[in-house]
């Protein structure tokens, strides 16, 4: 290839990448970096009206957050969602994937689509449906439970039941996505391996633990990382279903950030929350990658 065509290729490459890169720079990178700086200012409704009111306040936003009980409530709630929700959702997804992957299964594509369907539905719409489904008096769930002699649960009205109730909804909404990823991994596990273990007398759980799980290790990690990131980003669920209540038991970090920023217009403080959220996600992701490297999954 000659030099002239090299140059024209490079010129074309830059021209084709430029619009997307400019948009990413302007609407993604710049705001993300600005978030860090905004967090060091007292940007509020007065600064919104007149930028002259803006002052640099150093770490004051962070200091105030540390003293704000609602911030800690949002933090602990979110960590609770991560700690309880991740294993629950990963296990649920893996179970669904193994069921759909079973060689005894007939009409596999039908079940796969049915189980995946909730993932593509509109979050707000299904949150509205689930709010009704979880209704104490008229909800289908309590009605079903009544057949097992379980008295009505005030799912969205009691501070202890609200988190499991939302997790149930989030699990229903997202497990199909993880299931598809797990399915792809399971299909690469040779059937003979499982078969050999079965002939050796290994039961279902031993085979799961010693054959299947090691074989899909990297996928297990990927799904966990994605699920943790998803748990940190819960917003519409509490917004629609509980408005953060009852007793602030479902205020998540993102919900707190939204109220701080767009309800009270404390954009400086909201940006500080956003930055902390980013640090949390980054930390969890790095820890999980480190664990995976140590265990040899990657």
């Amino acid at each position: 290839m000659n030099a002239a065509s090299r140059t024209s290729e490079a010129r074309a490459g830059r021209a084709m990448a430029a619009p997307a890169l400019a948009a990413i720079l302007l609407f993604f990178v710049l705001p993300a970096i600005a978030s860090l700086f905004l967090g060091f200012t007292d940007f509020d409704i007065y600064a919104l009206a007149d930028i002259g009111n803006l002052r640099f306040v150093g770490l004051a936003n962070y200091e105030r957050l540390i003293e704000n009980p609602l911030f800690w409530k949002a933090m602990t709630n979110t960590l609770l969602f991560v700690a309880v929700g991740t294993p629950f959702i990963v296990a649920m997804s893996l179970f669904a994937a193994m069921l759909v992957n079973s060689r005894w299964l007939k009409w596999r594509p039908v079940w796969r689509v049915a189980l995946f369907a909730p993932y593509v539905t509109t979050l707000v719409a299904t949150a509205v449906v689930w709010r009704y489904l979880l209704h104490t008096r008229y909800g289908l769930l309590n009605y079903m439970l009544s057949f097992f002699g379980i008295p009505p649960v005030d799912w969205l009205g009691s501070p202890t039941a609200s988190l499991p109730a939302i997790l149930l909804f989030v699990g229903w909404k997202t497990f199909g996505y993880n299931m598809i990823i797990f399915l792809a991994a399971l299909q690469t596990v040779p059937r003979e391996l499982d078969e050999a273990a079965r002939i050796d007398g290994a039961n279902r759980f031993t085979r799961l633990r010693h054959v299947t799980l090691p074989a899909i290790g990297p996928t297990l990690l990927l799904v966990s990382v994605l699920t943790v990131a998803g748990m940190f980003q819960l917003f519409a669920e509490p917004y629609v279903m509980t408005q953060g209540g009852p007793a602030q038991s479902t205020v998540t970090i993102l919900y707190f950030m939204y109220e701080e920023g767009f309800k009270w217009w404390n954009l400086g403080s909201g940006a500080a929350v956003a930055f902390l959220l980013f640090l949390c996600i980054l930390a969890v992701t790095l820890v999980q990658l480190r664990l995976a490297k140590r265990s040899g999954a990657l």
């Binding site: 990448a17 705001p31 689509v113 990927l222 519409a236 993102l254 940006a271």
Partner: protein, 271 residues
């Protein structure tokens, strides 16, 4: 063996039924007469199916307006995303230019940053540009889709260099090569990407909630959430609203599921 086959299939059918039960119930309740759903035990099917809720929804509540907003924003978001993403994905895969690999590595790293981190500054930025409370403001995040660039790049890597080289020797310009040779090859991934962006922008909630203050501009999810927070006790109407909001994307997915699932896997491999 037959017994085993049927027991596994039965279990899968049961799990699938539980999974789609909320969606079936949503549709069923949306056809109930007003007040019918607020009963114990909860009725599973409408006694006398009626379209009353949908009439009210499109008449009194003016949902048609939100439907148009949603269709417009999702369609424009899809078109713009394709326009920005496809050439960039192709360039990153097949055209050598200075700094290409370094920029690409930075894009990979940027994927760790969730979009919500920059939401407040982005709001201020768009306010300065006069784009708050406009369709344009709602569309902006879809221009900056790193995932789409990955998807297209991944697919382009499989195009043989000899093919492009031959076209160059024949005197085709780089733009012609993209239009006449690369785009036809990319058709499946373009459908995947278009479907993905359309569904994501249709279902998106937090950003339109922030950027669209004027009720006339609300998308379906934003309007539905606003109504549901006013503690509406009319379950039948709320379910009809949920049906109008989610049924279009559900049908779109069912029609094109092959493309959607293949894109999902390509995306998750990249992480």
């Amino acid at each position: 063996m037959t017994l085993r086959r049927w027991s596994v299939t039965l279990l899968a059918a049961l799990v699938a039924l539980i999974t789609i039960a909320p969606l079936i119930w949503m549709v069923s309740v949306s056809f109930m007469a007003r007040g019918e759903a607020a009963q114990f035990p909860p009725p599973l099917w409408p006694a006398n199916p009626t379209l009353e809720n949908y009439h009210l929804l499109f008449g009194t509540f003016g949902v048609g307006r939100f439907l148009i907003n949603s269709v417009l924003i999702s369609t424009l978001a899809t078109g713009l995303a394709l326009l920005f993403t496809i050439p960039a994905g192709y360039a990153f895969a097949k055209l050598r230019f200075g700094g290409r690999d370094a920029i690409f590595r930075m894009l990979v790293a940027a994927l760790v940053v969730p979009g919500q981190v920059g939401m407040l500054p982005l709001f201020l930025e768009l306010k300065a540009m006069g784009l708050v409370n406009s369709y344009a403001g709602a569309l902006v995040p879809w221009l900056a889709g790193i995932f789409g660039i990955f998807l297209v790049r991944q697919y382009c890597l499989s195009i043989p260099d000899e093919m492009l080289e031959a076209a160059r020797i024949d005197g085709a310009s780089e733009g012609q090569i993209l239009r006449r040779i690369v785009l036809p090859i990319l058709t499946p991934i373009i459908v995947t990407l278009a479907l993905y962006v359309f569904l994501s922008s249709w279902n998106d909630f937090m950003w339109p909630l922030i950027i669209l203050a004027d009720q006339q501009l609300y998308t379906l999810p934003v309007a539905l959430a606003a109504n549901s927070r006013q503690n509406v006790q009319d379950y039948e109407i709320m379910m009809a609203g949920a049906v109008v909001t989610t049924l279009p994307v559900l049908i779109l997915f069912l029609a094109l599921q092959r493309y959607y699932l293949s894109g999902l896997l390509a995306g998750s491999v990249k992480g």
